[in-house]
């Protein structure tokens, strides 16, 4: 679009036609105050704070609703305008309690800022202010009505942004009030977007209210540990008796792939860290009972037992289970530890998506993996299976907003009437389990159509949909775990004619993709490199065991037969989550490292208290392959990161840790930053480093040293380290050439989490539990129609 030229305060400004005056001013560095205007939400014109003078217009105009036009001459800072703004503030403060000292917004309140800039804090009213008690609308949403300035941002973000429409306006004029959808409480997705977007302290969060003040916290930008979308979240932390406590999560600086979006889990479900059942001491089974003990003793026991099993029965008698919530560095280190120290390829994890098949289907064009940003910008999207609203809230947000703001065409094919059908150009329902036939049909096999025809969609409609999809350049195809193995291959083939088509394969946990990328598979090395062709890993690690290892079911079988003598389970709960028979673990020596005494940990011989992803540093890869930094925010005394534990176990088995972690020779020297220099961890490490004859300042507990190795060996991960450290998401490329594999589709077990559950972790979150409890009491929820 051609640029329009305007003059603002004597400054020449050019902006594309159709730009709002307020945005044009902002781009030129001129601030126009506003309350109700919010980028990407519909215009409201409610607060009249953005009044400016436009020449030749009789009255002051609202900059947030005025579209610029050629030759416009605008003044934003005359006496008249300042007086108008001051009067608006005076109106707003007419009934405002001004209890800033106890208000949660104090210090980051837009009204406070405005009152500071324009004065008018003294009220001319003689009447007492109208008071109304604070109301609790849900476990996480509280509303303090007198503080509300009726900007309607909350109403709009809940409706337009979230498509929940849970907030509305009651009454008219001066007696307008914001009201929840159920008389006195809310039934909604509990995302907290309304709280976050509220410019004042009217909506406050149950998790954070009255705990501290914004400037008293340290703020750490890291990545959410729940679903696989990888929202960037800024955690506010403060000191606590047991280390550092996380008190708030948000993303007000909009710096990540998620903008200011976070779902309930990213915003509130960090409270598992301080659950009273959190383990803070290693437990060793003595006389049949798990007994608290010291780290030294635990490492000694593990080291000697694992060495014994490896030397007597060989590496194939040890099974290793990795995690989908540990960092890339820890996953890489774990599989390297298994292959190099334990000399086994028996390593697997809870697979929730078929990434190896995805990679092998795309080896010809590795650039065709879409990023999370592509979902927001793509002209068309095809969604097969999954329910992103429940399982991938950020993905659903990106899709909704792409449809709403960019008029993208969305095609949804699902066996359930999922909520995203409301945004869809066309929604086609298929019988449960017919996804395989769907991908054959899309790939051109007309005979597969019969399996799809049970719904109201006719044969012709299916054929015309297929034609339409083939003429959608830039299509992004997103598929859930319903599509696996050879179906992935045929789906990819079906799209081969579409110009610039891209794909996303949906996994379920925060680092499901990372675990897959880092080679936590019995037959695949990092980068999905096949074991038969270990290439540079062979040289780099000084040998890789050749025999293909056991998958998890095979390990179980071998353990039940008494052949698997030891288990090493890192951050996983196979007994609880995959409903495996505990008997398979009862005859072997089992080491579990986890945060809680899970169903798997109670039958272990040694349990090590591990730190969670908010308590360590490293990187996560989201389901689209976007690499992001994980930074240490919280801390619970007594725990250790999985990284440190693995290195210490290797050390206690007599392995030279210099070979495991190539520290001190890559791009970084770890000066303790990554390990929480402020919390004395460095000193604690120092004792062991000194005793092991290692230099203090460059330590083998430095995840960045492993990242050096990962970036060196996996071309797809060779992204800019600078950008990564700056907190930006970096899209990784899929491996090209001979990589990936077609596995048995039965190995994939979807996590089936919904908006309020998050595997084992979710069970220990007070917020999530209280929301779930609250819902069970209520009758069936009614869906509100989209506008």
């Amino acid at each position: 679009m051609p640029d329009v030229n305007i003059t603002v305060d004597g400054k020449k400004v050019a902006a594309p036609a159709g730009t709002l005056l307020i945005e044009a001013c902002k781009n030129a560095g001129i601030e126009v105050p506003s309350f109700c205007y919010y980028p990407n939400l519909s215009l409201q014109g409610a607060c009249r704070m953005c009044l400016v003078k436009v020449e030749k217009m009789p009255k002051l105009q609202t900059a947030c609703t005025t579209v610029i036009s050629e030759g416009m001459i605008v003044a934003t800072n005359s006496d008249e305008i300042r007086q108008a703004r001051k009067s608006m503030i005076e109106f707003l403060l007419g009934n405002h309690p001004l209890d800033c000292p106890v208000c949660d917004a104090g210090g980051e309140c837009e009204l406070q800022d405005m009152a500071f800039s324009y004065g008018a804090a003294e009220s001319k009213y003689m009447e007492p202010k109208n008071h109304k008690e604070e109301q609790q609308w849900s476990p996480v949403v509280y509303f303090d009505r007198p503080r509300c300035i009726l900007c309607y941002r909350c109403v709009r973000v809940c409706g337009e942004g979230m498509d929940v429409w849970a907030l509305g306006v009651q009454n008219r004029g001066v007696s307008s009030i914001i009201a929840p959808n159920q008389d006195d409480h809310l039934e909604c997705e509990e995302c907290g977007m309304c709280i976050d977007i509220c410019p004042v302290g009217a909506l406050t969060s149950g998790a954070y209210r009255y705990k501290t003040r914004p400037w008293e916290m340290n703020h750490v930008g890291t990545t959410c540990t729940h679903c696989a979308d990888g929202c960037k979240t800024t955690l506010g932390v403060r000191r606590a008796d047991t280390g550092m406590e996380i008190v708030r999560g948000d993303n007000r600086d909009k710096s990540g792939i998620n903008g200011d979006f976070l779902c309930i889990k990213g915003r509130y479900a960090f409270d598992f860290a301080h659950h009273k059942e959190r383990l803070t001491q290693p437990l060793i089974r003595k006389d049949g009972r798990l007994t608290p003990s010291t780290w030294e003793e635990a490492f000694e026991v593990i080291g000697s037992r694992l060495t014994e099993v490896r030397d007597c029965d060989g590496g194939q008698a040890i099974g290793v289970l990795g995690s989908t919530r540990t960092t890339n560095e820890e996953n890489y280190l774990l599989q390297k530890f298994a292959r190099v120290v334990l000399q086994t390829n028996n390593i697997d994890h809870h697979r929730t998506a078929d990434f190896p098949a995805f990679v092998s289907a795309l080896t010809e064009r590795p650039e065709a993996a879409a990023s999370m940003r592509d979902v927001y910008n793509a002209p068309a999207i095809l969604l097969i299976g999954n329910d992103p609203t429940e399982q991938h809230p950020l993905l659903a947000w990106q899709i909704r907003n792409n449809v709403r703001l960019h008029r993208a065409r969305l095609y949804v094919i699902n066996s359930q009437p999922i909520k995203l059908r409301r945004q869809a150009t066309s929604f086609l329902q298929i019988p449960t389990g017919a996804e395989a036939q769907l991908s054959s049909f899309l790939a051109g096999q007309d005979s597969a159509i019969d399996a799809l025809l049970s719904g109201p969609t006719s044969r012709d409609e299916w054929i015309s949909l297929r034609e339409k999809l083939r003429s959608e350049p830039g299509l992004v195809i997103i598929f859930g775990s319903e599509i696996r193995g050879s179906d992935v291959v045929s789906l990819v083939k079906s799209a081969s004619g579409i110009h610039d088509v891209k794909f996303i394969c949906l996994g379920d946990y925060a680092n499901s993709r990372g675990a897959a990328d880092m080679g936590v598979y019995p037959d695949l090395l990092p980068g999905y490199q096949r074991l038969a062709d270990p290439g540079k890993f062979h040289e780099e690690w000084g040998g890789v065991p050749r025999a293909v290892g056991f998958t998890l079911p095979e390990m179980i079988e071998s353990a039940t037969a008494g052949k698997l003598k030891a288990w090493y389970v890192v951050g996983a709960n196979p007994v609880g989550r995959l409903a495996l028979d505990p008997f398979a673990f009862s005859q072997s020596f089992v080491v579990v490292q986890d945060m809680f005494l899970t169903e798997t940990a109670v039958i272990a011989d040694v349990v090590l208290p591990a730190a969670n992803a908010y308590e360590k540093s490293g990187t996560f890869t989201n389901t689209c392959g976007d690499l992001q930094l994980v930074k240490k925010a919280g801390e619970v005394t007594g725990t250790k990161s999985d990284f440190e534990i693995i290195v210490r176990i290797a050390g206690s088995m007599g392995y030279d840790v210099r070979k495991l972690v190539p520290f001190g020779r890559g791009m970084t020297a770890d000066m303790g930053q990554s390990r929480g220099a402020q919390s004395g961890e460095v000193d604690r490490h120092g004792v062991w480093l000194e005793a092991s004859g290692l230099e203090l300042k460059m330590s083998p507990f430095d995840p960045m040293a492993i990242l050096d190795e990962i970036q060196r060996l996996l071309p797809g991960y060779a992204v800019s380290r600078m950008d990564l450290l700056a907190g930006n998401a970096q899209h990784t490329a899929l491996p090209a050439g001979k990589a990936g594999a077609l596995h048995d589709p039965k190995l994939i077990v979807p996590a089936d989490n919904n908006l309020f559950s998050s595997g084992t972790l979710g069970r220990y979150s007070r917020t999530l539990n209280s929301v779930i409890e609250n819902r069970h009491k209520k009758p069936e929820e009614l869906e509100v129609a989209a506008d």
Partner: protein, 176 residues
């Protein structure tokens, strides 16, 4: 006559000395003076150790807004906030200070915290005998700084026996 000049100068000097000898003293006889203040005297505006005030209902005035800590130039105020509940109401507003420490190793008695306080909760008392042989004793806890309950609420003792056991001085802070 330089000698006479010198003698005159000395005499002039000494005359001032002798004159002052018969003036009333303005130096305080602290700590050997009479009374509970041991002879110390000061102006009402003197800024001594802090007192955290209570309102007329005996509730703490401090609402843990952290403004004093934010304003403190020597960064010596440490606060942990908590929410009042129906069962346990400590302050008049929603929030109260669960922990309120002032580190007198660092406090420079500038009064900025008092200026910042929106609820007039923190004030300077007249306590000045803070010297100690143990620096950790210079970190005063909330219990050491809280004003006594108002007289009509029946409690005049500043500290109860448990608090004294936990390290609070047994004598009420002077001038509070």
């Amino acid at each position: 006559m330089p000698v006479l000049k010198n003698i005159a100068a000395i005499a002039k000097g000494m005359s001032i000395t002798f004159m002052e000898m018969f003036q009333p003293t303005i130096v305080e006889n602290y700590p050997d003076g009479p009374g509970p203040l041991k002879g110390a005297k000061f102006q009402a505006r003197f800024r001594g150790t802090h007192v955290l005030q209570r309102d007329e209902n005996g509730l703490e005035k401090c609402v843990a807004c952290f403004l004093c800590a934010a304003n403190c130039p020597s960064n010596c105020i440490y606060i942990e906030a908590a929410e009042n509940t129906a069962e346990q109401r400590v302050s008049g507003a929603e929030r109260y200070a669960k922990i309120y420490n002032i580190d007198y190793n660092r406090c420079i008695f500038c009064g900025y915290c008092v200026e910042a306080c929106p609820t007039d909760a923190i004030t300077h008392g007249h306590g000045f005998e803070v010297a100690t042989f143990n620096v950790s004793g210079l970190i005063y806890r909330k219990e050491q700084m809280l004003a006594p309950m108002p007289a009509h609420m029946g409690a005049n003792a500043v500290f109860n026996q448990d608090e004294i056991g936990a390290g609070a001085p047994a004598v009420a802070v002077q001038g509070s």
